[in-house]
Amino acid sequence: MNLTLRIWRQRDAGSAGAMTTYEVKGISEDMSFLEMLDHLNEELILAGDEPVAFDHDCREGICGACGMVINGAAHGPERTTTCQLHMRHFSDGDTIDVEPWRAAAFPVVKDLVVDRSAFDRIIGAGGYVSAPTGSAPDAHATPVPKPAADLAFEHAECIGCGACVAACPNGSAMLFTSAKVVHLNVLPQGAPERESRVLDMVDTMDAQGFGGCTNTGECATACPKGIPLTAIGRMNREYLRATVKGRG
């Protein structure tokens, strides 16, 4: 199939960017979106142009490295990551807009690459558990109730791709932060830091310049891993509980 691509090109963080139009021909519907961009880049390199920079790593939908806004939707029209989006979801002759994640906390590094280290700083503030690192613990030393394990796993599916922030009209990281907080706070292993985790992670989230939540639900709609919107409600409860219980 033949496509018209309008891609955000920006030389570096300090430069102004613009949408640039490219024509690509002979795209197979079995290609992933990233393979289609690889194809474009090969042509650009042969023509002596600068290839389009984009983040990618596993190309299996599990690492969270890739991500771009395709036709106004984070990761494009399907509920999956950009690497797992296939060209069969587009039609011959389509014009496709490709933009980087847009958020003040995710500055553009180059073209479609944004700096998502703000997420790392949120994780650093509380996305861990205290564990003894000596000999291996007994297998059942810490019993985990099945419902808690399921709930933790549902939220642990977050791959930190940033689609929630990109989709949110407020550039808010509430879905990401709540997935991490709920994941660890429902487990007995996370209990020692239950209060400090939510308080420190929310503090850091605010300090990184993310917006607040207005419950529009755009984040959960865009999330390739299906983190539920109720995660935010759960984190709000954890936050209020921690604030009342004593901040420590």
Partner: protein, 234 residues
């Protein structure tokens, strides 16, 4: 060497809440629920207008005597006014500060973005501004009687009819009540989410209650100007 434990956390509960986006939203949710509870009572009182001037004016008089003899005359009314005024101010200031922050957090728009959120969700900010302006007008019209054409203290029924007899007042009122319905439709469910009361099991119930409250209050409030415009109340 042991790592130092963080100990510099602020001791103030209110300060912690007000400084964080999550806490500020909790303030908005709480003040919103206070105003919502008041509106339910207000709407029920309004409907007495359909039972004639005697009953309506008697009700207006009774409001000033709530709590007697424990409270002095109009004390209850003033306590309610102070709580409501504080709620309006806190709700508005928090909304303004959070909105400023939200707009700054998303400086660039997408080329082609269709909003997936509902109309009620997308109109919370401007709907809130309309409601704020309406409250100012409403107090000047029917509480202080500054802009009321009848302006007879102690005769709320006559003041109400005289005010709604001006078609543009009724039109503004109706527009404001539709904005109110939309505001509550998103706001009530949002408050449940913000205060952590929501869960996958209760999500649907909160949405149904939000829609029910929005419909009930809108229809209840709209009944009065429509009653005056159609001559049922005169």
């Amino acid at each position: 060497m042991a790592l130092a434990t963080r100990t510099e956390r602020s001791p103030s509960l209110i300060g912690t809440l007000w400084r964080s986006t999550v806490g500020k939203k909790a303030v908005m949710a709480t003040t919103g629920l206070i105003m919502l509870a008041y509106l339910v009572a207000h709407m029920m009182g309004n409907l007495k207008v359909f039972f004639g001037p005697g009953e309506f004016n008697h009700y207006g008089h009774w409001i000033r005597t709530i709590g007697e003899p424990f409270l002095h005359r109009t004390w209850f009314l003033w306590i309610a006014r102070v709580v409501l005024a504080a709620s309006v101010v806190l709700h508005g200031v928090a909304a303004y500060q959070l909105s400023r922050r939200d707009l700054a957090a998303r400086p660039a728009k997408y080329e082609r973005k269709r909003a997936r959120a509902s109309y009620a969700t997308r109109t919370m900010r401007w709907g809130g501004v309309i409601l704020g302006l309406f409250v100012v007008w409403h107090i000047l019209d029917l509480t202080t009687l500054t802009v009321n054409p009848n302006a007879e203290e102690g005769r709320p029924y006559q003041n109400l009819v005289a005010s709604f007899d001006r078609w543009w007042v009724s039109a503004f009122y109706i527009a404001a009540m539709l904005a109110l319905g939309l505001h509550i439709r998103h706001g009530f469910w949002s408050a449940a989410q913000t205060l952590g009361a929501n869960s996958p099991r209760r999500d649907r119930a909160f949405k149904v209650i939000a829609n029910g409250l929005a419909a009930l209050l809108t229809l209840g409030f709209l009944a009065v100007p429509i009653g005056v415009l159609t001559g049922i109340v005169s």
